[in-house]
């Protein structure tokens, strides 16, 4: 246990990267999700088809394989990414697919009358989407998206395989140094749990604030 405490700064640095990767991927994943969801609903056949293929491929393959392809696979084409950059890209693309499905469902849940009211008042389809439909859809999507985010926090442990020094990787490095397993693994498990719980509480608050009009 003393070993854990004395190496806490090292582990905290790992936790910092875990959080950083989660937040950055969530951010870019959300942007991807908005475009993909709208593409699937409003695009012409080609755009719809591309968006569908993207979602199908990402959801049908393991995140670990996606990470490895981005980091090790792209090297074959002369694209050598920094581990952290590869983690951002792979996880953003991955979470974007899941979130786009959530958002698509939420957009479809908005009654037709909302579009009609907006159109009737002279708004363009773009204004209707950005001002009327998306703000409502995002509120609907937040609870399920929150679960995806918490899942994401845990999935960041996968990028330890491409040498990103996130929480799991840091623990493994310490284990290699001290040959003690359980205390470090338990310590990071507790740290993951604390981070997930804090996320969950923050999400709950956000949900409450956004649902004030209900």
């Amino acid at each position: 246990m003393d070993l854990v405490w004395s190496n806490m700064p090292f582990l905290l640095k790992g936790a910092y990267y875990t959080l950083l990767i989660t937040i950055v991927s969530m951010f870019f994943g959300s942007i991807i999700a908005v475009f993909v969801a709208i593409a699937r609903l409003k695009g012409n056949w080609l755009i719809r088809w591309i968006a569908r293929a993207y979602v199908s491929i990402i959801r049908g393959t393991p995140t670990l394989v996606q990470i490895i392809i981005v980091y090790y696979g792209l090297v074959d084409y002369g694209l050598k990414l920094e581990p952290l950059m590869a983690a951002y890209i792979a996880l953003s693309i991955s979470i974007g697919a899941y979130l786009s499905e959530t958002l698509r469902g939420a957009i479809q849940a908005i009654p037709k009358g909302q579009y009609e009211a907006a159109y009737a008042s002279g708004m363009t389809p773009f204004q209707t989407m950005t001002r009327i439909i998306l703000p409502q859809a995002i509120r609907i999507a937040i609870p399920p998206a929150g679960n995806t985010f918490i899942g994401m926090l845990k999935e960041t442990s996968l990028v330890s395989v491409i040498t990103v020094t996130e929480l799991l990787r840091q623990a493994q490095l310490l284990i290699a140094q001290y040959y003690v397993y359980m205390p470090f693994y338990l310590a990071i498990a507790v740290m993951y749990w604390i981070m997930s719980t804090v996320f969950a509480i923050l999400l709950e608050r956000l949900e409450k604030r956004l649902s004030k009009y209900e």
Binding site: A117, Y119, G122, Q127, E214
Partner: protein, 245 residues
């Protein structure tokens, strides 16, 4: 002000509007009556392009649209028409994530792009006009159906339309809330607003309308002033309709 020529509308193979011809003058209040399924709501929704006509054409506030124009052209024309018309829906369709006043001023801000101060001033005036200034910061979910519909009327008025369309504005309301909405519409009629109202409220139609359009099976089958329509309707269909009600 409104000219409708040979307006025809199909849903799939079914012809729901069969060559409608109609003209409406500025300042006129026209009530469209008829059994459900007669095409009256569809006709109204064709006028601002919420439904796409199959054949024929319309002209509203000087903007002419014809069903055989290119889709892009038609869309552009209807966006123009929508700047001259307002619509009030059966289900109100207020934006649930915006307060009463935000509902009223939304299009002012993003379509007309006037300043927020000006928009708020105007929004407050309009809410006062429908008797809801004290509810301006409430979300729609906190308002009764009648109040929501009055906010929806204020929202439609905000764009200073030449014409207001009402699509069964009281059909979704509890009976005791109907009058407050009808009062507002009557007030607008007195002020000379041009209105086309699809309704099931016979007494109200008789009271407020300058002209009654009676539709059945996708056609206008009777057109007359209220006193005539309600006292001695010409067609069997209208007689039956009035008796049933």
């Amino acid at each position: 002000m409104i000219k409708i020529k040979q307006l025809t509308k199909h849903f799939g193979k079914q012809e729901v509007l069969k060559g409608i011809n109609l003209q409406i003058q500025a300042g006129e209040v026209v009530a469209i009556l008829g059994p459900s399924g007669s095409g009256k709501s569809t006709l109204l929704r064709c006028l601002n392009g919420l439904e796409q006509m199959t054949y024929g054409g319309i002209e509203i506030s000087g903007v002419k649209v014809d069903a055989n124009q290119k889709q892009r052209e038609i869309n552009k024309k209807f966006r123009n028409i929508r700047l001259h018309t307002g619509m009030v829906f059966q289900q109100f369709n207020l934006y649930p994530h915006k307060t009463a006043i935000q509902n009223v001023i939304e299009a002012l801000l993003i379509v007309k792009k006037i300043s927020k101060e000006q928009a708020l001033l105007k929004g407050e005036k309009l809410l006062a006009r429908v008797g809801l200034l004290d509810k301006k910061d409430e979300y729609p979910s906190r308002l009764s159906g009648g109040q929501q519909q009055r906010v929806a009327i204020a929202r439609a008025l905000a764009m200073e339309p030449d014409i207001l369309f009402f699509d069964e504005p009281t059909s979704a309301l509890d009976p005791e809330l109907v009058d407050e909405v009808l009062m507002v519409i009557k007030e607008l009629a007195k002020e000379g607003m041009t209105m086309v109202i699809v309704t099931h409220e016979m007494e109200f139609a008789r009271d407020v309308a300058d002209r009654i359009i009676f539709m059945a099976d996708g056609s206008i089958i009777e057109e007359s002033v209220p006193e005539e329509f309600f006292v001695k309707p010409k067609t069997e269909r209208a007689k039956k309709f009035l008796k049933i009600l």
